[in-house]
Point group: D2
Chain length 379, copies 4
């Protein structure tokens, strides 16, 4: 008999759906001692939150997040709100001894992030941030290969996240579906939204970034604001490019934009080492490209590994070789790892402290772009 | 409030899991008036069936399929057994007025299939066969394009299903996970297992096949049989190639094997018409390749459509553009379509009659291979 | 100082250009003891042949091929005429002791081919047929891998040649550029034109075909004939599909058509063995795809080898790694190999006898299609 | 009868071969009024230069480049020497009224480049720099599409040139084949060798770069020097990354390295505009990727155009659709364009002035990397 792990979720947007699905799916596919229970969902609009609860099978609803946080029957607070609420909710939840799963980026800036880290560490509550791409099987496989040392000395790491959904200048900013375009809710544009993913994955795979030089641009300067109804200055960055150095001496090239026509969600990464290279992209997330210099030189080439075999990370829990899983599975894997870590007394990664390091890089990137200068990062 | 649709499933192997998942997932993603309820799961091994029920949330278990079929609280019988049981269970379920969802291929042969068609048509029970690939969004999109007439006169249709999992001659035949290698349970080898999918999809997209000439081969002639413990003759076909003509005058090229090293589940299809062509494969199931001859000749080429936009078939119910779904979703779509058809009083496809036509082709293919001759197909 | 090898070419169409280029290029890139000399070009139209001679640097012209063949200053007769003239010219050239390089297919049919073989073997003149694709570096590399035994027992060989240039029914048949559509000049359609390449390469890589069953179709039944000015029945095959068995027990799947919209010259091949597979296509001729089952199972996948390194076949004579060569280079390689064989006293392949075996398969394919039956091939 | 255009070439390395081939090939494929004549080849080693002359058909040899430049029977001086000799030879050749074709990069630095521009403009001699990639048919096609305005406002341009041939620290620097690693001969490393190509193509397609910030690295700090026999400091850059802005407001991301394991010569480029995007890479140089936002949204995707049709740039002069050309053809196209420009009284591009602008960017990039600051570029 599985023990219940009672989830209280705040927010029911895109991420609220992805997380709810993960909780519902994890126990059919991963052998665990706890069952994720959809105990309560919280959002301000009473009708909508009840409809969401009904669709997803939440046992109860709340419209005041503080009430949810304070409920005794909740073990885990899952924060799926816009970024500007992460800190306040996290600190309150920590104070009430709740485990906390927080959407990325951790915070509006590093300072706020540090307060959150302090809060959870002081409260000694399990905590994790939803940098879900670490749990793409192909990326987990990349991590195993890199950790094995097979690539040798690393020379280069490059990563892009290219989208095209905000090119239309008639698209407004702010409000439910568009808070990512509103600097007051999001803190930044592509930097916190997309580069945050690139950086979390990069530092997981290749260690800390030590210095950066960045360039940002807002192509569309004004957009109608959904909350005020007025045309307002756009405060977020539409595009951000940065270069830099990792602590291991390798060079960094990063780029993100929402103005790369033809790319829906093209998160790419590539790492080049002395003896091999790896490459991956989100548009075919079930594949990993590998170049192994130590293979016979006559037949050496880039290999496309269809990461769907039983021995590939996470895949024995799914179907049979050749049958791909998708985006939503990364969240299921993260919940499975979180619960397994709980059960073994370890801390699932990335926790708040790890996510805070990404926050330090994001701050450095934005500072560099503002000041047109190189910025060093101390962790 | 959704009305319950009570499912009784027989069998809990690979397909049992895929279907159970579909029933659990459909209502969170597709707006329907009925909720699929996992009422009962049936299999012979009491311990295992209870464990499966516990994992997947089935309300009850049975070990005798006849008892399940006869239960008053079951609306739908879902048959996930090896092929040799499809007919008997279907006929019994029809007699008890159950809706029937049957795994593919419909039957061991066309004769048996015809009896099943008669049974469900006489009983007037909704019925459907799990040719799930029709519900890959990229294939549904292909269907829309073909039906629009954009391709013009069709000249060629080719389809392969290439695997490599039975090359090792030490692999035994028969028993739980390996019944597909045992002719007594499976009826045939790749023909019924893999070509059945190719043919169902082909005839859905391009209309009926009218004549075929086939070649089959069993590369490994003897394997240990798991049920008898003895080395026995292998009765199934390891590979099957056939060519033929469709009723619309286009030429057919089909091939299936479990001896194509490097291909896990490479179901491919391509259709060539006067004004355009389409191609797809299962290893990147979220993509459709399109060639449109009417485009500007200077910039004409094969287009790779990442079938993940809201306007693509089924995709508005999932995530956002660029984020792919996987294999399991095809079953969810099929359940959604089945329930929607129920609610609108139509019959979801492919029903038993449609699947019987595929059975006629399979019989013709095997007959042609046996007799080394061309065989015509009358539907 | 290089010794001259005097070339007399008959025909100046597409192949005349490709061969002339090969003779002009070979000595700058391949170290040989003979220099190919463009001694004479022969064709019926005096003005055009002189213009061609001037463009390409031929020393002289002829308008009567018999005169050319009989000239004492010619060492090699290169036959680039339509197929129906191959036999007569070859036999005459053999009688005059000339070396003969003949375009493919060798002849209109196997019977005629056998006479040609007898003629050159009796005359003991070096002879070769322009099945140029053996000299694509990626295909030569495939040959080396197969010959090494690395693939183990072979199960499947499949090869297509898909084009789309004759779909338009207004395209006429016959005459200079369109003799390939005229059965009187070409002998057959895609079978002799395209499948001949597939078969030559297949038998070089995988040994002889032993039995075939074929299907042919002429989609456009009548076309205006350029020589008569009248609409006439089309005598060639527009599409040909065949399956069969190789002597080594592997299965064959072949298809060719000029009605596959979107494919310009998509010659593909794939071979599946116990321990590995290879695949290649002409649209990216500088790449070879390799699957090696013996690699570490965790990181196994299809490799795309960019066949441009110095150690790859023929490539040390060209540029530097990463810089691709193209279609025309296959002819240069064939000339280099022919001259090198001359110098070492061996016979460059494929010679007439080897090409005659392909002719036997072509005859069997056409017979099978005509008689709707399986046909065995004895060499 | 074609008029002779007498070529005198200095240097016979990799580029010497590529240019010689271009002169030999151009008149068979492009209808021109002049014939390129290989009049003289010049290099210091008498034996080697004579062997090269014999292989390639040069009429005469020189061992002193000044003598060559001063010969009356030479129309064109083609400079294929290491970079440090470009300026002196160019200025001398201009003084003697010769047309000058100079390998890229134009010069060791912008100052030197400006002197060269002044020299040829004062002497009014036709001049051109071998930025050959403009003549890849796919890139020329990209230029046509961009110039048509179809992409709308441009947001991003990114370009990489990734190689892996110098990773081995045992590779020496300097001397015949390795002068590119010797700062005294090359001026810089990947910046002048590889980024120069990226920048020339970028500014041709997307207009001038206005500001850059760069990062360079020398991974292997010391190498044996072939000329001195001693281990010496490596003065070149092994890798260079830069970001910046184009005058049209789009953002630039550039990267080059010789330490990207698995990439032989992966020159890539991508341009993202409001209504479409284009992408290309050198490893499949005969393909152009196109995304056209104005296509039907249901079937929109990245198109891979096989740039081998008669209506594609340069391609009607080669073979038939589907048959690719390679690297060497870019030089043939450039010679054809140079001669055609001569005949029409225009100046083939890029001329020295155009290449000087690339030199200004290269200087800015190196300055920025040295000073760790943004640098503006005034043309």
């Amino acid at each position: 008999m599985l023990k219940p792990l009672n989830i209280g979720m705040i927010g029911y947007g895109f991420m609220g759906r992805a997380h709810s699905n993960a909780y519902r799916q994890v126990n059919q596919f991963f052998p665990l001692k706890h069952r994720a229970v959809l105990k309560a969902i919280c959002a301000r609009d009473k009708n909508k939150v009840e409809e969401f609860a009904s669709t997803w099978g939440y046992e109860s609803t709340e419209t005041d997040w503080k009430k949810l946080v304070e409920r005794k029957d909740i073990d885990v607070i899952d924060i799926c709100t816009p970024n500007h609420l992460h800190a306040e909710i996290s600190k309150h939840a920590a104070a009430f001894g709740k485990m906390i799963l927080c959407e990325k980026p951790l915070s509006m800036n590093a300072e706020e992030g540090l307060e959150m880290v302090s809060a959870v560490e002081k409260a000694k509550v399990p905590n994790m941030v939803w940098y879900n791409y670490r749990r793409v099987p192909a990326i987990t496989l990349a991590k195993q290969i890199i950790d094995s040392g097979k690539l040798g000395r690393i020379f280069h790491y490059r990563s892009n996240f290219l989208q095209d959904w905000t090119i239309n200048p008639e698209l407004p900013q702010g409000g439910a579906a568009l808070w990512r375009l509103d600097v007051a809710s999001a803190g930044s544009g592509v930097t916190g939204d997309l580069l945050a993913h690139c950086i979390d994955t990069a530092m997981w795979l290749n260690g800390p970034l030590s210095t950066v030089s960045a360039l940002i641009e807002t192509f569309v300067k004004e957009r109608k604001h959904n909350l005020t109804g007025k045309v307002e200055k756009v405060g977020i960055d539409d595009a951000c490019t940065f270069m830099g150095r990792f602590a291991n001496g390798s060079l960094a090239s990063f780029e993100s934009t929402r103005y790369a026509r033809g790319h829906k969600a093209l998160f790419t990464l590539e790492i080049n080492g002395e003896y091999g290279s790896l490459a991956w992209d989100l548009h075919d997330l079930h594949r990993l490209s590998i170049f192994d210099y130590k293979e016979d030189s006559l037949t050496r080439g880039w290999k496309s590994v269809h990461v769907t075999d039983g021995e590939h990370p996470y895949m024995k829990n799914w179907w049979v070789p050749g049958l791909q899983i998708g985006y939503e599975h990364t969240f299921i894997h993260q919940v499975a790892d979180f619960i397994a870590a709980l059960e073994s007394g370890t801390n699932a990664q990335p926790d708040f402290r790890s996510a805070y390091q990404t926050q330090l890089v994001l701050d450095a990137v934005l500072k560099s772009a503002r000041e047109k200068n190189w910025v060093s990062i101390a962790y």
